[in-house]
Amino acid sequence: MLNSYSIRKFKNKAAYVLCLCCVVIAVVPLASILFEVIARGASQLSIQFLTSNGLEGGIGPAIQGTLILIGLTSLIGVPIGILSGVYLAEFGDNKYASTMRTINDILTEFPSIVVGITAFSIIVIGVTGSFSPLAGAIALSFMMIPIVARTTEEALKLVLNSIREASLALGAHQWKTILRVVLPAARQGLVTGTLLAVARIAGETAPILLTILGNSYFFQGFNQPMDALPLRIFLNSRQPSPEVQAQAWGAALVLILIVLALNIVVRIATKGRFKR
């Protein structure tokens, strides 16, 4: 007999199964990408592959270039992003801030190829006159800043107002309160935001395609073309030679591993003494 209880039970079950199906649909492609990259890339890994230059069939310059790009971009993007986030969260109660917030949101969704072509025409052609890591890092900071700013703002808003008041009531200046009380309390959020942004820019191809160009050799200076892993994956995968294509898979695996390793290292290094 179908009473209302068993109907409800059935609906519950159905909703549960539906959710489960969706999770599977979401996870399967992800897992298969990972599987594919490991299956095809792992066989490539060797000291020689990781350390020699492009002419010798290695991806050393690309690894080095990606690390330089991550470092340089973070150097530009993290301070600017965090300070913007602080402004939005702590002083953002006016119309300038809400305009800034909107622009920031648009920038987050900005097509990266547009960032690339803009950096190309302004920096590569206009300022430095050459493809360079600097141009690449500036283009990538354009992508990083909005992400860091947004996540910083969200993280700071989660810090209880009573903590700010406690500090101000002790006679601390506002900037000291932000620096020594609010930012530390939001540390986990800031780290997560920064890592998210790093993961995003580490894999970006379009902005660096037009700014660092690619290079078979190791780093040659801040005003010279440089290599990077996404670029190497893109360029090599379009080559007819199966060996060169296989290198692209190896580079893909290394890129994933670098982002993963960075995540783990940064999380351990910035772990607070206290849980929240």
Binding site: S162, S167, A169, A172, G272, R273, R276
Partner: protein, 254 residues
């Protein structure tokens, strides 16, 4: 009781945007005694004590008119730095709010460190003395490096009191400091408040009339943003002059 005046408000009005929360409050707060502020919820008690250390103006669109005198000096005068006022007039909040990222030690030292103090024996001594004054030292002396949030609610509130004492204020404002605590923790804090009055001027907001009667020397009764009655606590409770006060303390409304 005859004591000198520590703070005084004169024709003090306070607003949140268009809403007026305090109306023409003229009230004298005497030195080294406990003054209780009582009144029904929403009558402006919190607003009032937050005007005494210039915390009120931190709320967007909040403003005041009138004067607040500290040792005869108007704390709202143009040349006065609110930061200096807040060091002289400390505050303990309704809910214990130790800094979550700091140890017990660092919580107590926070005010001095934020003002630029360096680590060292002098700081250690101040931390110990403040914790002793807040009657918390014996309970935490072996756990100074543990998080400030790892102790019980009552201990956290005494930690917040120690934190306020460490910057050596002259006046301590307390906004319903026991409302989040159990009766035993409340009793401890009440005893502590009595002790503090020997060295500090204490203003405590409470909606608990028994508490006001137990801890305070003077009591001010607020209603709808106005000061209705002020006097020695015993007199006010035993022999209220205003009918409103009488209704409130006999529980006819509130």
């Amino acid at each position: 009781m005859d004591t000198t005046e520590k703070m005084k408000t004169e024709n003090l009005n306070a607003w949140f945007g268009p809403k007026q929360a305090l109306k023409e409050i003229t009230l004298s707060i005497k030195a080294n005694v406990v003054t209780a502020i009582i009144g029904p919820s929403g009558c402006g008690k919190s607003t009032f004590i937050r005007t005494l250390n210039r915390m009120h103006e931190l709320v967007p669109e909040a403003r005041i008119s009138g004067q607040v005198l500290l040792d005869g000096q108007n704390i709202y005068a143009d040349e006065v730095d609110p930061v200096q006022i807040r060091r002289r007039v400390g505050m303990v909040f309704q809910k214990p709010n130790p800094f979550p990222t700091m140890s017990i030690y660092d919580n107590v030292a926070a005010g001095l460190k934020l003002a630029g103090a360096k680590k060292g024996q002098a700081l250690d001594e101040i931390v110990q003395k403040s914790l002793q004054q807040a009657t918390l030292w014996d309970e935490v002396k072996d756990d100074l490096r543990k998080p400030g949030t790892s102790i019980s609610g009552g201990q956290q509130q005494r930690l917040c009191i120690a934190r306020a004492l460490a910057v050596n204020p002259e006046v301590i404002l307390m906004d319903e400091p026991c409302s989040a605590l159990d009766p035993i923790a409340t009793a401890k804090i009440e005893t502590l408040i009595r002790q503090l009055a020997e060295n500090y001027t204490v203003v405590i907001v409470t909606h608990n009339m028994q508490q006001a009667a137990r801890v305070s020397d003077f009591t001010a009764f607020f209603y709808l943003g106005k000061l209705i009655e002020y006097g020695e606590t015993n007199a006010l409770f035993e022999n209220p002059k205003s009918e409103l006060t009488e209704k409130y303390i006999t529980g006819k409304f509130g």
